[in-house]
Symmetry: C2
Subunit: 185 residues, 2 copies
């Protein structure tokens, strides 16, 4: 599911990501690289061990090249982290304190995937408004999505490095990248 350049890049990222900002910087880089490499849409995400800043796994949007509308960055990052740690529940006993860092707020699907994943913390860059401004759509996300996650013990932080994250979206639009939604027909 993941492009080769991403796997190569991850192999070089052996140092810890001590701050939330440094983790966000990585996923914004991935979102931009994904467009530049022609391997998908302008979205990146990764799962970190929030305890020591270790990068566990990452994902980028692969919807168009893989012909798979479920292949959002967050979904692939979650699935890759679960593969790596050998458990379908990243919140199970013995797991690290897993944090999902995403270059853009989760859409309705990715939001719904988070409680099942065992992720304990979610950090978002660009906002739903930033994505919508260029024509992407978050879908029918729960209107109280942050509160719904928080009440399940999942901490949410939004707007981290928002300008840098939104810039990737704006540049994608300027370059006339494919904007897909539920109805592109």
């Amino acid at each position: 599911m993941l492009p080769q350049w991403l796997l190569d890049r991850l192999a070089t990222e052996t140092a810890g990501f001590a701050t939330v900002g440094s983790r966000m910087k990585l996923v914004i880089d991935l979102s931009r690289l994904n467009v530049g490499q022609g391997t998908g849409g302008p979205f990146g995400a990764a799962v970190f061990d929030a305890g020591n800043g270790t990068l566990i796994a990452a994902g980028v949007n692969r919807v168009v090249p893989l012909n798979n509308s479920t292949a959002h960055a967050e979904m692939l990052a979650i699935a890759a982290a679960q593969q790596k740690l050998g458990c379908f529940d990243l919140g199970a006993k013995g797991m690290p304190d897993c944090e999902l860092v995403t270059s853009c707020e989760p859409c309705a699907m990715c939001f719904g995937a988070i409680p099942w994943s065992g992720i304990r913390r979610v950090v978002c860059g660009a906002t739903a408004a930033d994505a919508q401004r260029i024509g992407f759509d978050e879908g029918p996300r729960h209107p109280d999505w942050v509160a719904e996650l928080e009440k399940r013990g999942i901490h949410v932080q939004t707007g981290v490095c928002r300008d840098a994250a939104a810039r990737v979206l704006n540049d994608y639009q300027s370059a006339q990248g494919v904007i897909y939604n539920g109805r592109v027909a």
Copy 2:
């Protein structure tokens, strides 16, 4: 992602499924077989061409065996249909009238995945209450999920063969199958 027995079974299903009831019967069969074969949880789903009743693709819940919390039956059925038809949008021009038939109402994630998928119709067997009664959780699904889909032009039908679908869930509980949720730790 799909177990071999399912691929073998699909290869034999060459006749059309003329009625919604016959389509639901198939996915209920798949949900029961998935447990019997030890290849995942008690959920099945399939995508049909609602125009002529042709089976396009199917999925079953593979969360535990694949260590992947995103591997719900509906997600795998949607992804498989998109692979088969070579398009990330099943609602694009030239596509068949794609109907997702699922043995149980979609959870928050699968609900959120539907608008991106291009699915035009959703048919559900067991209800959220049936799943919750045995300990599964639909997650933070939009409170007006049916209306949210309908307003995007996606027709929703619930409670089709509900008793037969719920029986698979009840039997799974009786056999002490693994019930996983956001927090199993």
